[in-house]
Amino acid sequence: MRKEVPLIITFLAGAFFIADYFVPHTGFSHIAETINGWTIIVITFAYVLGVANVTRVNLDYIQRKGKDTPYKIILLICLLFMMTVGIVWGIAEGTIFDWFFINIYVPMQSMMFALLAFYIASAAFRAFRIRSTQAALLAITAVLVMIGRVPIGEAIWKDFSNFAEWIMNVPQLAGKRAILIGAALGAISTGLKVIVGLERTHLGAD
């Protein structure tokens, strides 16, 4: 019973939403929209699970007095503080919640994003080390595309930018689309397996 009920619900929901793609009937779409609304409500309630998990995991750590205890305490205080100010004074523009979000959270998020530049540099350095024929091809192509996209490229050869565009639009795009087609078929196959109950690893072994 523990497996049958989820399997039946999955099948009904999956079949219904596949049908929704093909059925433009207003009544049918109305039902689909309502079910999507339910999904949003369920997802919202899942945040309670998230907060409970963060609290439980970090409180356990604090009780065990691990070496990162001070950080865990700060995390829980921040969580409680932001929740309280958000619930009491709201989250609209100009509120305390908004001030902390804009002045503390957004700069930290930007800092993490900015780190990408350094990571790209170190990753590119490793990628362009020529150790094999494929690596040589990759490095040469990358250099050609880079030169084609800066003014010096056109100074060397007036069609350099067109050549770089050709690399991007023909061989690169062909490879990308091949991966996309494979991935799309894999997604359809996985979806079908889950809907008809062939794939039930997530429900446990038979």
Binding site: M1, E4, V5, I8, I9, L12, F16, Y21, F22, V23, P24, H25, T26, G27, S29, H30, I31, T34, V42, I43, A46, Y47, V48, L49, G50, V51, N53, V54, V57, Y105, M108, Q109, M112, F113, L116, Y119, A123, A124, R126, A127, K176, I179, L180, G182, A183, L185, G186, A187, I188, S189, T190, G191, L192, K193, L198, E199, T201, H202, G204, A205
Partner: protein, 297 residues
């Protein structure tokens, strides 16, 4: 027989619930704007092509599943990235360090996350046999109970339910870079010996993979988000490219029915390839109807 009747009863209950809710909803007066644009058609004529393509793909998949059920041996090529998962688990066990499994940053409505949860169940089963901690950081709370259940079932399937540690399935934050920072913290503090990044990733992919690389962990990544693949290829030891992520479950479990489905989608790919070649030939001779047939409004 008893299970079958229970299934039938529950199917009936589910159908009745859906129908009654549907009828109740349909009887509600629709808003004024929707009434003016109401549609009474039960099939969108512009989507016949998608419908037929889906029917062909479904037929192929079901045909090969039936073939596999009859005991037909189906060949699946070696996928190095998936073979490496067991190697990574073994290495982590030898070093006495945990394994980090990152299921991507998308919700359960993304099929990549579903595929990732399926792989997580298989990984948990392997990990349970080796008695190595498995850390699973989660970005979206809706994924949390699914991940908990997948890991728990993996441990149960391995016969070691007592080894399952609920606290290792950790909700970090639903903000993309806060989540990435949280995982980086786990990698730098707990030093996992193996990092598995399998699911849907975006701009945080390189941040995670490069940090993992700097810790010296063996890294296996897999995603169908093509813009992130180059980052994983550069920074990880093994990368599952696109469809390989979806093939993982069949490959790891070797279950005939799942291998059959894999074979079916391979044949569907063959048909698409033939259609592409035919389309290229026809368009070269200015025959456009074939190309137009694939157009979806």
């Amino acid at each position: 027989m008893r299970t079958l009747s229970k299934t039938k009863i529950w199917s009936l209950v589910c159908i009745l619930v859906l129908i009654s809710l549907g009828l109740a909803i349909a009887q509600e007066p629709a808003p004024a704007q929707t009434q003016s644009t109401s549609d009474s058609r039960w099939f969108d004529d512009n989507r016949w092509n998608v419908f037929l393509t889906l029917v062909i793909i479904f037929f192929l998949i079901i045909y090969f599943i039936e073939k596999a059920k009859k005991g037909k041996n189906l060949f699946v090529r070696r996928i190095a990235g998936l073979d490496a998962i067991e190697e990574a688990v073994g290495r982590a066990t030898e070093m006495g360090k945990p394994i980090l499994y990152v299921p991507g940053i998308d919700d359960m409505n993304n099929i990549q996350t579903v595929a990732s949860m399926i792989i997580l169940g298989n990984v948990a089963r392997t990990v349970a046999q080796y008695d190595t901690p498995l850390i699973v950081p989660i970005r979206l709370p809706f994924v949390l109970p699914v991940a908990e259940e997948s890991v728990k079932q993996g441990y149960m399937a391995a016969g070691r339910p007592e080894a399952f540690q609920k606290d290792n399935i950790r909700f970090i934050s639903d903000e993309q870079f806060a989540y990435a920072a949280g995982i980086n913290g786990i990698m730098l503090r707990e030093r996992p010996a193996a990092n598995l990044f399998l699911g849907s990733f975006f701009a945080e992919s390189l941040v995670l993979a490069e940090t993992g690389f700097s810790t010296g962990a063996i890294q296996v990544a897999g995603t169908a988000n093509i813009h992130q693949l180059p980052f994983f290829v550069v920074a990880c030891d093994y990368t599952l490219i696109g469809e390989e992520l979806f093939a993982a479950s069949a490959y790891l479990s070797r279950e005939p029915k799942l291998l059959g489905a894999l074979k079916g989608s391979d044949y569907a790919k063959g048909i698409i390839l033939a259609a592409l070649i035919l389309g290229a030939i026809l368009i070269s001779f200015n025959v456009e109807w074939f190309k137009d047939w694939f157009f979806v409004e």
